[in-house]
């Protein structure tokens, strides 16, 4: 049987510029979230996980001229470059497709302070995506997925479908988001940000921490029998809308519940090592997720969130967090839910407080976002 699997990946976040650096920091319990005052011309302080411009540019300078690309594009290009570096995949091949996930791309170019820096066209997601794919001499029109906070998982699932169609040999699923006045002020206007580092699922949680970054998963398709050792397969996935409210999660977790059950059809819950939740640490999101997990009969599966390590990285979140899941499955070691101490949701879910080892081979990654959208992906480790 043909399956879609992860050939190579990369994570860029405040915790590092490679997947290995990020995973090492996460397992050590390091957080990149910190307090920022006067950044982006925002009057109120906020917690966020920011990528160092200097370090990024130090890396980027080795591959191209930093002035030709926006910060968003530099993160994504570097991420793809790093992911492809140790592979023999031809990124310029007509059989390679770029699928790019982002919520706001270069939206900072709307700021009169920055609008002169690039052509007017560049604020369009398709234009920015074209620059990214062209950097790697890829001639296919890149597919852009822009679907709020589920963009990353949606892009992975779309990538899987494009591979299964037989038209492509490899799909580079990449994406990211950079923080700006636009994004931070918007979340503040929603009163969605915590003044302290976010605490997913905790009784004292009071909002999210933002983050920026990029992630890349290079997907390939192969026969189940001939996969490389420890390959991570994108086994299944689903998206579903709450059909309830555009800015508040469903009280019954309807869309997420449906996405989970569709994803798990044919899978035994006993095979699940953990659930990597969206876990933004807003009161309503985490409560909604606990309800969906409980309705799906998964109350005994260990749950974690990465938001207290790297913040909510928006269009990159689904990618970065799925990549982390893929490495956690290979390591066989749970990721502790940093900042959690007392259960603060109505369902008795098992939030991870200790990074113990496990033997199960599958895990679920879930995300939910504005517009009532939800997405779930199921990963499996093959030996």
């Amino acid at each position: 049987m043909k399956v879609v699997y992860n050939i190579s990946d990369n994570i860029i976040s405040s915790l590092g510029f490679t997947t290995a650096e990020n995973m090492a920091s996460i397992y050590q319990g390091c957080s990149g979230v910190s307090l920022h005052t006067n950044d982006f011309g925002i009057p109120e302080p906020f917690q966020a996980s920011l990528v160092s411009h200097e370090t990024l540019d130090e890396h980027f300078n080795r591959i191209a001229d930093i002035k030709r690309y926006t910060f968003f594009e530099r993160m994504v290009i570097l991420s793809v470059h790093e992911a492809a570096f140790h592979t023999n995949i031809d990124l310029s091949s007509p059989e390679t497709l770029f699928v790019i996930s982002t919520t706001k791309g270069n939206v900072y170019l709307l700021d009169p302070e920055h609008s002169h820096e690039f052509s007017e066209e560049r604020v369009n997601l398709w234009s920015s995506a074209k620059e990214i794919a062209s950097f790697f001499n890829n001639q296919n029109t890149p597919v852009v997925v822009s679907q709020a906070c589920i963009s990353g998982v949606s892009a992975i699932l779309a990538g899987k479908m494009f591979l299964e169609s037989g038209k492509y040999k490899n799909v580079v699923v990449t994406g990211g988001d950079m923080l700006s006045k636009f994004i931070v002020s918007g979340f503040q206007s929603f009163k969605a940000l915590s003044l302290k580092r976010c605490r997913p699922f905790d009784a004292l949680r009071d909002g999210l921490s933002l983050g920026e970054g990029a992630g890349t998963m290079i997907l390939g398709v192969g026969n189940e029998e001939s996969l490389p050792a420890d390959a991570i397969v994108v086994k299944a996935g689903a998206t579903s809308n709450d059909a309830n409210h555009i800015s508040g999660p469903s009280r019954t977790g309807e869309g997420l519940y449906r996405a989970i059950t569709r994803t798990l059809s044919g899978t035994d819950a006993a095979d699940l090592a953990f659930i990597n939740a969206h876990g933004t640490a807003t009161v309503y999101n985490d409560e909604m997720e606990s309800i969906a997990i409980s309705r799906a009969g998964l109350e005994n599966v260990p749950v974690t969130s990465l938001k207290s390590y790297i913040g909510h990285t928006l269009g990159a979140a689904g990618l970065i967090e799925t990549i982390s899941c893929s490495h956690a499955l290979q390591e066989g070691r749970l990721i502790n839910c940093l900042g959690f101490s007392d259960l603060g949701v109505s369902k008795n879910i098992k939030v991870i407080t200790e990074s113990s080892e496990f033997k199960e081979k599958e895990c679920l990654k879930m995300v939910s976002g504005f517009g009532g959208c939800n997405a779930v992906v199921l990963l499996k480790r093959y030996n």
């Binding site: 009169p112 369009n124 479908m161 494009f162 918007g186 579903s240 809308n241 800015s247």
Partner: protein, 207 residues
Amino acid sequence: MGLAVNKYCFITPEKVCINGQKLFDLDAREPHEKSLVQAYRNLEIEYPKFFKMDNLSKLALLASECILKNTDLYEIKDKGNVAVVLSNASSSLVTDSNYHQTIDEPANYFPSPSLFVYTLPNIAIGEICIKHKIFGENIFFVSRQFDSSVLYLYVNELFGKTYTDYCIAGWVECNVKTYEAFLFLVEKGTNGRAFDTMTLDNLYKTK
């Protein structure tokens, strides 16, 4: 398994058409906000939430109404098997710019949450799902032009791989100059035009 398109619609500042037939004219000289409301009135929709939406969501909602009305699907209370696949060129840029004006100047800094929520293109999908109780697969693509090959490839896979029996798909573009919706309903069977890129390109040309 064959897939077919037997319902499609266009909405532009000039007119609203379903399956190639003009339903009514709109006044293209009016601002977009006004002609979209004109279309809402002419389509006889009773949905007060419409008035708080941004133009992109208004456009998408009107087009979804054109596609679903008078079909068997319309009355089904729980549409778990209906997917929504939308695309456009400008994402939510019109609303993005409007939102940006609320934060441009420090002296006049008052970020608006009701505008901010519409600074995501997939909100238009959310509005369609809320109105019609749709719980199926959904995704939003951004491309420079109407891209029949991506829509075809993706929707075709959806039918083969997921719980999808119907798919509302197409293009909902809203920019400062104009707006344009081209939505179509894909379903199983052979009733209608065969669902392929040629059909989509030919239909899109008739706008």
